[in-house]
């Protein structure tokens, strides 16, 4: 809905666009979003966002444990996208020609880190199975799985170790919420949210 608003007003009506920006700002506030980014996720971006969030958390006197967990989840989520996002650079749909969306929200009780990126539909079963399995496991089993994967897994060409999701679940103790929304016949938008309790 927001997107169609930009399309309809942004290009031929500056006032309408500025009104949209205000709506966008209010919407971010309502959802307690402290950081949102759309585009290619590079290592530079990962460093910039983590250090920004780190200094904000320090200012707000979050405990060391919360700061470390939020930092860790952000790193893993950002690196997941930079290492695994499918390359849709040829896509003519402007919505998905970037690399993804990344946002951090801060509520009274928890932080949440959400990523969204386009994936090829044939990866959905594999991702679903992996996430369901991780969500089902308790900490001890996750530790076993992590060890096994660390010993037996190999780094991918882009340097992914397949350990990120397991580690997020065991460090936050919270389920990974995810959702696939259809983009086209062959691709979907993959959304994933991790939450970190602020009372650790």
């Amino acid at each position: 809905m927001l997107i169609s608003k930009i399309m309809n007003t942004g290009q031929n009506n500056a006032k309408g666009f500025l009104e949209f920006v205000y709506e966008f700002y209010k919407s971010m506030k309502a959802h307690e979003i402290t950081l949102v980014y759309e585009g290619e996720i590079t290592h530079q971006i990962t460093k910039a966002f983590t250090s920004l969030t780190e200094s904000n958390m320090a200012k707000e006197e979050e405990t060391g444990a919360v700061q470390r967990k939020v930092f860790h989840v952000m790193v893993e989520c950002l690196q997941n996208i930079s290492k695994h996002a499918d390359d849709f650079s040829s896509a003519d749909d402007y919505l998905f020609s970037g690399k993804g969306i990344f946002l951090v929200a801060k509520g009274d009780d928890e932080y949440s880190v959400t990523t969204g990126n386009a994936v090829d539909n044939n990866r959905i079963p594999e991702l679903t199975e992996m996430l369901e399995n991780i969500n089902r496991l308790e900490k001890d089993d996750l530790n076993q799985l992590y060890k096994k994967q660390m010993k037996e897994g190999r780094l991918s060409d882009k340097g992914g170790a397949g350990l990120g999701f397991i580690d997020i679940k065991r460090k936050t103790g919270k389920k990974l919420d995810y959702h696939f929304l259809p983009i086209s016949e062959t691709s979907s938008f993959f959304l994933l949210t991790s939450t970190i309790s602020r009372t650790m």
Binding site: R68, E76, I166
Partner: protein, 125 residues
């Protein structure tokens, strides 16, 4: 043996491998853009060292943060130290962790479980 001394940055740890001064240490933060490339000199150094190790090897990890891709490389380093130990040489791993950092303490315990090498956990503040 060659001395390796790499200064740490906001995303890469400092690495100090210096036999003359009895220092074998990795410390700081580890989330390099390319983990395999970053740790390659350390692994190569250990391969060379393992051909004629000192009677006792003490290797210290004093990390405040590492990402999951780095965790895999740290295991590779530990497995090389395990080989030196298995060849009959004395090896000790010192795993330093900030005293309020449970996750870093547990990470040490996890490695101690996986590799068969004397492992000491040391809290600091």
């Amino acid at each position: 043996m060659e001395i390796i001394k790499i200064a740490g940055t906001e995303d890469t740890p400092s690495i100090h491998l210096d036999l003359e001064n009895d220092i074998l240490e990795i410390s700081g933060r580890s989330l390099p853009e390319d983990v395999a490339n970053f740790y390659e000199p350390v692994l190569t150094w250990l391969d060379e060292y393992s051909k004629s190790p000192k009677p006792k090897t003490v290797f210290s990890f004093k990390l405040v943060y590492f990402n999951t891709a780095s965790s895999k490389m740290l295991l590779d380093i530990l497995m090389k130290l395990e080989d030196i130990h298995a060849d009959g040489h004395e090896v000790l791993i010192n795993w330093f962790y900030p005293e309020d950092d449970e996750d870093m303490e547990e990470a040490g315990e996890e490695y101690a479980d996986i590799v068969d090498v004397p492992f000491e956990k040391i809290a600091y503040n």
